[in-house]
Symmetry: C2
Subunit: 344 residues, 2 copies
């Protein structure tokens, strides 16, 4: 019973699906201590293109290393790649605004990287352009697919997600998750409070100031797509749902979030409350890495990484297509083992 709010897994089961990975960066990830998605602050900007390359090719080109946290924990892209290879569905990378571009084909939405939200993330025309072109892309994919699964990779994305949710009036402070078991909540709160201090009164003004290119791209694509949309991610995808609701309220009924058990059970955040507030459906996949052969994967059970690169939604959809959790774990281990071999 993976459905927590609504019955989205029943709605999407068996649907003809495609996966999009939407990548972006903001300068929020350069703030020391805000994210563990990169060995140094500067390297966080390499994480989205590295995730994209790993997802598609099984190896990275923008960096000469496996995409892991500083302590050596593997990117959730191993789960996404495992799920995609079992699902055998098409996947494309979409760049909504990354400082470093992946060295593989990607769909360009004409976006730009976000700046520090304390000064303002995006110029208004850039924010509008990302939504507009995202919408066109969603429309373009509507003929052949009944379901779009959308994942994300953006370092410090939970901070911009929290800023966006609070800026749109939700009770979201301290409720977003983190890739670290030590969610740096005081720091996130301080940044978001500062960003909220001077706020434009209109919707696009607020989104331009507080949001990130990924959230706007995901919202645009979802609004343009004519079928169901599975937002594959954690609390960031609640923020994406909130943007979708603001820009096209009637679309939300076709939207659900698919995430991991590690996010739903996370004590440092509250995705269920956030999803309930926005009204988006919420489901999760019951992956259990506690019996994995690899310590790097068992660490997921200790609150590390948790989600990202569409891992939760893709593996959830795989289980709905009849692929067992055991088979997914076995494929994840196979991919992770190859990663470790290549790193030697």
């Amino acid at each position: 019973m993976p459905d927590v709010l609504g019955k989205f897994s029943e709605e999407i089961k068996g649907k003809k699906a495609m996966f999009l990975l939407v990548i972006a960066t903001t300068d929020v990830s350069l703030i020391p201590g805000i994210t563990i998605a990169g060995a140094t602050e500067e390297l966080t900007h390499f994480t989205p293109p590295a995730d994209a390359e790993f997802l598609i090719l099984g190896k990275c080109k923008v960096i000469n290393a496996i995409p892991v946290t500083p302590s050596g924990l593997p990117t959730p892209a191993v789960i996404s790649r495992a799920s995609l290879s079992l699902l055998k569905i098409n996947a494309l990378v979409v760049d909504a605004g990354s400082k470093i571009k992946p060295k593989i084909p990607y769909v360009d939405l004409g976006g730009e990287p976000g700046r520090d939200i304390r000064k303002g993330s995006l110029k208004r025309e850039v924010a509008e352009r990302i939504v507009e072109r995202g919408t066109i892309l969603g429309e373009e994919l509507s003929n052949d697919y009944e379901l779009l699964i959308i994942g994300e990779s953006i370092p410090a994305g939970t901070t911009t997600a929290m800023a966006t949710l609070v800026g749109l009036g939700y009770d979201a402070m301290d409720k977003v998750s983190s890739a670290s078991p030590d969610n740096p909540k005081p720091l996130k709160r301080k940044i978001v409070e500062e960003a909220l201090r001077e706020l434009p009164s209109d919707l696009m003004g607020r989104l331009s100031k507080l949001s990130d290119p990924m959230l706007l791209g995901v919202a645009g694509i979802s609004l343009g797509f004519k079928g169901k949309v599975l937002l594959a991610g954690g609390t960031q995808m609640v923020a994406a749902s909130a943007v979708i609701k603001e820009l096209g309220r009637e679309k939300l009924k076709d939207v659900g979030i698919g995430t991991t058990r590690w996010i739903v059970e996370d004590k440092s955040s509250d995705i269920i409350d956030l999803a309930r507030q926005t009204g988006v459906k919420l489901s999760f996949v019951n992956l259990d890495f506690s019996r994995s052969r690899f310590d790097g994967l068992r660490a997921y059970e200790r609150g590390f990484v948790k989600e990202g690169v569409g891992a939760g939604g893709l593996s959830l959809f795989a289980t709905l297509q009849g692929i067992s959790e055991e088979r997914i774990l076995s494929k994840v281990e196979e991919i992770y083992e190859n990663l470790l071999k290549e790193a030697k």
Copy 2:
């Protein structure tokens, strides 16, 4: 009986298909008299993004005008858009190297615009990158589609096509077509002969010097795609087939060209001979615009425009899916009429 060489229309009938429009520019189109795809030489670089925007949106954004030749003849994108809207299949724009980018989402292959082939079109690493990323894109689309229909928009593309074919050893001089009924053969021949004067001995060296980003992108995508490939275009697509053959000979059996009757019947070029030389299959669509209500469309029967933006292949595939030529013409006229209204 649209099959001229081979029986490709039988092979692809009923297949699950997607359309890609590959756009690019070279500075060859800046040579006075070489092309009519633009009101001035400089404006030829706006034609590919304008074609892309018109195909997807039904209007142009990079230019404030309908995409027509200087004498007011409509872009073949009206045929492509009509066919797509009847086929209801997904379409994406791929930028292999355009000077002006379309203001819609497009897949970026990391290419660059070509220069004048007399000096050398592309740096070798750029040419290799376009092929490599095109191949990845083709692979990415292989799960859900059995057939990829690939069209092109590149001004002066027949000149780079002729240079490529001759440079690869084919008897192609004076055999490529033109968007004008007065094919500027002496000028094309002069440029190609000059470009051929100093030629690297290896394959990628030759392609870098003589080819254009579109040909390399189309070849890469075709090589990566696991199903059938319908090259939707005229003599340029023979050059693309020749590149495919050089880079992966075994793929050619899954490749066919779909073009218009106007290209096959063109007295100023010889696509049948060129296709026979390369060994690619060739089929055409029997659109007849002689009874059209619009002079701009009847001009196609007088040798203007003829092909482009995937017009021939897309309308051929539409007829294979049971859509009559009359219905296509009627849709083309509807789209063209709206164009004329908006231009007023």
